[in-house]
Amino acid sequence: MEYKDYYNILEVEKKSTQDEIKRSYRKLARKYHPDVNKAPNAEEPFKEIGEAYTVLKDPEKRSAYDQLGENWRQGQDFTPPPNWDAGYEFSFQERQDAQQFSDFFENLFGRSDTGKGAYHRQGREFHADGEDHFAKILINLEDTYYGTTKTITLQVSGLDENGRLMVRPHTLNVRIPKGVIEGQRIRLAGKGGPPLGRGSHGDLYLEIILAPHRIFKVDKRDIYMELPITPWEAALGASVKVPILANTVSLKVPPDSQTGKKIRLKGKGLPGKSSGDCYVTFKIITPKAETEEAKKIYREMASKMNFNPRAELQ
């Protein structure tokens, strides 16, 4: 089990006041909230600061944690000393959601009250529907263009045969339909958390995150690309072959094209009820004047073409 440096995680010091801890927590929570922070792994730091704050905001837990001593480092292998928590009592009134805390936390402070204990509270049977689970799933542009199947592994908490809360990996093969777009959520009914007692399973929501593509930029169903062309293709016009995902399109470069000129290829974007378009922006690349021959041609252009691109600046 790894030691967790809760002070470090919350960016506070051992001598920080409760107010300072609270302020720092709020600030970090805003920064790393998975709905605000677009990084696919923002969920991890957010959980970690939540766990750190659960300990440090509570004076009882904080002083118990402080008792472990100062010589531990984040990530160091850790075993709690025997009876380390004698004289402290912890309660979990504030944890309504079944958040998963680290092994480190649960070894020190135990598990929250969401397991079997909640079942027969006050002699009455307790039933609750399972939690909805949320996860982000990173896919490539090709995945949404063709559709695909993704294997995802989620850490799911559930009850074992003895009724104890436990976390186990849960592997699912999920069909990613053609044409899903960034930010969309896929709902998998009944694939969320298990119920307590009689109830129904929660749902699983997968949010699509599109990995950046080497060539294409994506906005909803439209895709954008830059097309390098030569000066003579731009000046004289040409027909060039452009690979756009599954298709190779023959694209007409009109004469007198300039860098920045945009061409729309209707329906060549992502598939859908109304397919997206592909926007191609020309970018003129001039060849290097590396040989005498090339230099001669450039000098000839300079002398024969009366051209001043900066005329408008005057």
Partner: protein
């Protein structure tokens, strides 16, 4: 092993999926009052505005879920959440224009 072999399909919560207010409440685990509050603050908008036949596009489910999580995790009130969601939309637009 069964899970690993089977491929499961879900539904994409896009504009084409239409849910009733009852389904919306069930999916998001909220009651009618919260739906009304969110409509009043402009967080979500029903597709048809007759109260009995309220219908919502699938994308609203995501907005409600984000709103609920922001309220819970960051202690933001409903008008504040509406502002955050608008700003998030704007950031997304700016990003895609880059």
């Amino acid at each position: 092993m069964k899970d690993i072999i089977n491929v499961i399909s879900g539904e994409i919560l896009d504009e084409d999926i239409i849910v009733s207010v009852k389904e919306l409440c069930r999916m998001c685990k909220i009651n009618h009052e919260i739906v009304i509050e969110m409509i009043e603050e402009g967080i979500i908008a029903p597709k048809r505005n007759e109260k009995i036949h309220w219908q919502f596009q699938g994308v609203e489910i995501k907005r409600i879920q984000i709103a609920l999580r922001l309220k819970r995790d960051l202690h933001i009130n409903t008008p504040g959440v509406a502002l955050v969601l608008d700003l998030l939309d704007e950031i997304e637009n700016l990003r895609s224009q880059k």
